[in-house]
Symmetry: D2
Subunit: 334 residues, 4 copies
């Protein structure tokens, strides 16, 4: 099976679905964009690929096709679980954007179906596939800084999303911090056991309107006692700010931001570097390619993806715990 072309289908052609469709078509050797599905006919028009055999507004058609090896679920969150279940039953391998669902019960059902049907599931925690964070993880794992004692993750979006997005995203901890929880688990290689959350709405009143916050600090401890901090903001002004630092017994590893260019202007008012890359689509362009490469590799070699279904579940659990900690204003055991 090593050299077989893997036929993939993308279900849901929003911003992220289109990124995946384009990468499958152009940037990843050994895969075909075999089918696309979206409930809006208009979305389907944008996709062009010589290998496309099936273009449909009904994703069930995709799941029925015997030629498809794996599906990418890029639809809205509330539909993820049921598509996962159906895809599993049809024996399709699954790549699913995070979060799996907004209820733990649904997540558990979906992952049970995956397990029973013995298909692969990869969750879209793209940052694990970023060459920067990936290298940091490997260095920590091989002991470069000794045992981790502190981790600090900073994630700030350049500007708040629109109100519709705010209303449906599940709140900061399930929409934004969930990525950082996953990063903490990834870099530390162990589970988080206690969480304390502090937050506020200071940037955009729409968050408060929907019971949400826009600035936050979450502190936590891991199994081995490592003390962690996740700092989030819905606005940064200077680009997409996404950093991490792990302090170990023998030193520290830092992942810094990338700038648009390495052009520098030196004048009387100071030394001006370029802004940070604008947003996640620019910052993680390579990571989006790498995660689908891993998906294809896992299908081919029957191995577990770097971002597994279990990782999707655990990050959700931590997001929920942070939400609860904010409510009870104190420490929450996970």
């Amino acid at each position: 099976m090593e050299n077989k072309i893997i036929n993939l289908a993308v279900i849901g052609l929003g911003r992220i679905g289109k990124i995946h469709a384009n990468n499958i078509n152009n940037n990843i050797p050994g895969v075909n964009l075999f089918a696309v599905a979206d409930i809006y006919e208009d979305a389907l028009k944008d996709i062009e690929a010589d290998s496309l055999e099936l273009v449909t507004t009904d994703y069930h058609e995709v799941l029925k096709s015997p030629d498809i090896d794996g599906v990418l679920i890029c639809t809205s969150t509330e539909t993820h679980a049921e598509i996962i279940i159906e895809a599993s039953e049809k024996g399709k391998h699954i790549f699913c954007e995070k979060p799996i669902a907004l209820q733990m019960e649904k997540i558990d059902k979906a992952l049970s179906a995956v397990e029973e049907n013995n298909v692969i599931i990869e969750i879209g925690f793209n940052r694990r596939y970023d060459p920067n964070f990936n290298k940091a993880q490997k260095l920590i794992e091989k002991g470069e800084i000794g045992k981790p004692v502190q981790i600090v993750i900073i994630s700030r979006d350049p500007a708040p999303p629109d109100e519709q997005y705010i209303a449906g995203c599940g709140g900061m901890y399930l929409d934004m911090t969930i990525h950082d929880f996953d990063m903490a688990r990834f870099l530390l290689g162990e589970e988080i056991v206690e969480i304390m959350a502090t937050g506020n709405c200071l940037i955009d009143n729409n968050f408060a309107k929907h019971g949400d916050i826009d600035v936050s600090t979450v502190s936590f401890t891991s199994e081995s006692g490592c003390v962690g901090t996740i700092i989030n903001s819905r606005k940064s002004s200077y680009g997409y700010d996404n950093r991490a630092e792990v302090l170990g017994a023998e030193g520290s590893i830092e992942v810094e931001n990338r700038k648009d260019t390495e052009v520098k202007i030196k004048k009387e008012n100071g030394i001006v570097n370029d802004k940070l890359m604008h947003f996640f689509t620019e910052r993680y362009a390579q990571a989006y390619i790498e995660e689908i490469k891993d998906f294809a590799k896992c299908i081919r070699e029957k191995t577990t993806p770097l971002a597994s279904g279990h990782d999707g579940k655990m990050a959700f659990k931590l997001g929920q715990a942070a939400k609860k900690s904010l409510e009870v204003q104190g420490k929450v055991k996970v």
Copy 2:
């Protein structure tokens, strides 16, 4: 009084007392090192200054001298309050190393004496006088980044102190974090109202032995709702790590570390910059000069120092609240 030479005395000639004595003698125009006092005769031998009129093992001698305008209290913490009271009563202006005391009652008594006797008190929050943090504060105050919504302060010592120091320092929050609380109040220009602390002992068992921690995250909110984070560690390996970042509605201001030199080695294994400056004595050499300049200026002009007695009290209060939050494992109102 503008051109009068200010006669100063240093009481307590440990590491920090010697730094002050040397700076008064050499680096600050318009001041004289008139007297030094230390209970150990040996400590007195190291101090040389043409202006020295009084060298004594009994600090009461110093306070009695009519020629002395101000005293620097650099003795061990438990003696600060009583020396402040006595100096106030003798009409001496006071520079006191932090913390004022380890009991709020003693702090209040000391500050009452200061007020009743109408003398000036400056607290040794040296970082306020560092050109880097000082510039950041001015930029924030004049609105460079808009209203602050997040503040992140990282302070890590290069290596843990010895056990004797650990036993008597009052714990991480009153010994180390107290500086960061003061920095938060300084940069934000407002009070902190709620605190949550998380910490652990992972680096040096001596901390646990004395009921203390060596890694910590403190999150807090200020009066206006700004969400803050203070991250501390008793060991960094790569030098003294002392940074701050304030995110405002329109951008961010960051204060980064200084390195020993700007020498860079570029080889096959990477691009190696010099380490961070070793410890606070190197990093804040200029700040130690500036704070005594401010003390002399305040004596001359009868104004309030940048780091006042009130600042000393408030930082202590926050340190205590953090301690309590760690105990109760939840949010504490200040």
Copy 3:
């Protein structure tokens, strides 16, 4: 013609030819990889593209095909001129790797053919298309730093090439510095009029063996008197080092290198950043895409490429002048 798909052919499938073939196939909208040609049958096997209609060991076949709009000449230097002439006569637009030829006479003949047949020629000065250098040029052009008075360009290869390459490359000034001469003309927007070259062979004896040097400084003045410096080395050890700085009457613009990742290790021995990107294929990956996009756009809109035939000729002229300056050990007028 705006929406017509442009059919392109790549002649010569060495390292650089393969990069172009792959980019045309995958990364550039609106173009087809219609044909490839290489004298070695083996080289042809590596190329796969659904749009490929012609795969041949005889490039004349390519030039005869009526469906091809433009050809990319990626063969060895000594064949460039004759293929340019033949392609021009067949009405094919031309992208040609640098240098056009190693004799001025041949360059002139080739460019005459291009002009007579009214086809477009773009020269592979990829750095003009790099987002970093491109942005710097635009900033200078719009007056960000005032009139340029100094330019400094540093280019160092990570390691020397093999002897065969050394023997046939035309020497440092025509192989390596030619790119920097083009960059100087590009950033300054004017001609270079005087040149002085100093160099030596210190890194690899193969250079001396073939009458070549491996470290060099070329200084020059432009029409307006701007003083320039190009610093080259055939070995850097720490990755591909390619920087530029233009000092103007009101400030300076610097283009710095990119590193492999933004991962930083901070330990007792210093703060270690990642190495520079390994070589030009990594550093200019985006530029190789952009230059072919420009080629397609110029074919479509009948405009002149950012790197024109004239630019190819001028850079060669400057390389020759540098060579002569090294011989005569003095200043040479261009």
Copy 4:
């Protein structure tokens, strides 16, 4: 003699003389400011020191005083040689600002007197004593980057001096580049044997008026064949720009500039770092202290200073050679 206080005198109390007088008085243990001399009585008024025994408008008085161990010659250049000779004859050790003289004959006479009278002479090449350049030199010497094959030195003043200074300074190569020639000799640890200079007047017409240039590139080769480049400008706009880079067979060492502070503003228009330190007085504050410490140490231990009389002569010789190269528009042997 190890613990003897060294009595020093400063002759000439211009900007640099005052820096030395102040450092001797305040920042250097084991030395006394015993005497000061200046032809202007007003200049003498600014100097205060408890140790001052002699304040005079006639420097001969200073040289006659039997209590003085060493003199610092900070007068205008044309008087250096004769004061050196007289001081030597009186057995005084000598620190002399650069250049020793503007005629080689005078330099030779001065250094002969020094040798005959067996006194120490140190030249004010302050950069050798800067912790940054000093560390770089030591790393190169101990083989950190292998054999040096390229050196690049960039020195730019923030703004041009006034016309009076321009008229008397000896031209760019003897006033500015002379420091860089010394740095090249210092970092490489060997002599420069060939020089080529290119320059122009583009910034301030006063330079052209006095037959001088304001932008320049000097390329050179050392005894072992290392190819060097010195890039100078009389204006930088963004602070005092003073860098160096040495490429060796196994890597590169870079000395970068220091900024005023490590404060960074991140906003929509980019990431703004602080300016470079304003000028040499700020940038080399520590170096001015270190060079006098070395002077005192050499007097005490009868050793040769890091910046010797021979170094002063050689740098002058190279400055002259650069001047000649600019005239003859070609390579000049030193």
